[in-house]
């Protein structure tokens, strides 16, 4: 009897090549994060901005959804910053 086929693991070289040759745009990443934020917003009936002002930093954050929501919210701004680096935005400073 043959054993079930084991999926082939990437080598580190293949992994680095796949990441470097990737085609994900900042817009796609931001879109995915926004989808996730909206899931939490619908589930808890609260805007992410309100959640972030109220929950993180308090013991209430020690709940899986809230912890993930907070990480997701911060990564949204990091991804935005990748799309619009501060150096680029500095042009618009008055």
């Amino acid at each position: 009897m043959s054993s079930p086929k084991k999926p082939r693991r990437m080598t580190k070289k293949q992994f680095v090549k796949a990441v470097a040759g990737g085609t994900l745009s900042a817009n796609q990443v931001i879109g995915k994060i926004v989808d996730e934020l909206q899931l939490y917003e619908r589930k808890y009936g609260m805007r992410s901005e309100v959640f972030y002002a109220l929950i993180p930093g308090t013991p209430a954050e020690d709940q899986p959804d809230f912890l993930n929501w907070a990480i997701c919210y911060r990564s949204y701004f990091r991804a935005l910053q990748s799309k619009f680096p501060l150096k680029e935005l500095a042009r618009y400073a008055v």
């Binding site: 680095v16 796949a18 990441v19 990737g22 954050e61 990091r78 910053q81 990748s82």
Partner: protein
Amino acid sequence: MRFEKRQRAALLDRCWSIYLSLTSAFNLPENFHIEFPAVVESALLSGALHVTVPVGEDMTLSLREEYAIDRQRLTVSRYSYNLIDAAGNNFRRADNLPFHRTDYRKRLLTHPPHHIHDQRGRVFPFSGDVRHFIADAKTLLSTR
């Protein structure tokens, strides 16, 4: 957050070590190997890694890490590791929120703020190392 070359390399190394730990512990579906690089690409843009993968017959492993640059070194500033059952309940979850100093027996945590919750919400000591969480998940699945 725009990662510089060295930081990107450090983040790639971190993600690679998670990939190695996962693939050594579990027989993962083929599409995980295909999709993982895109997950890492997303982490390079957002500063946070989120891996979700089915393990065993009815469990899901969800690993989320948020990174920060500290003196040119990549550190995991916040994490949430979850082993979730088919009903969506957290069977085990580990994080580094600073709200626990003792375990459920009121003994000091060995590596605060790192701790782990069982399905009843009880707090146990945890090293903070994702490899230990994955190994623990593997042991739990093999003894069920």
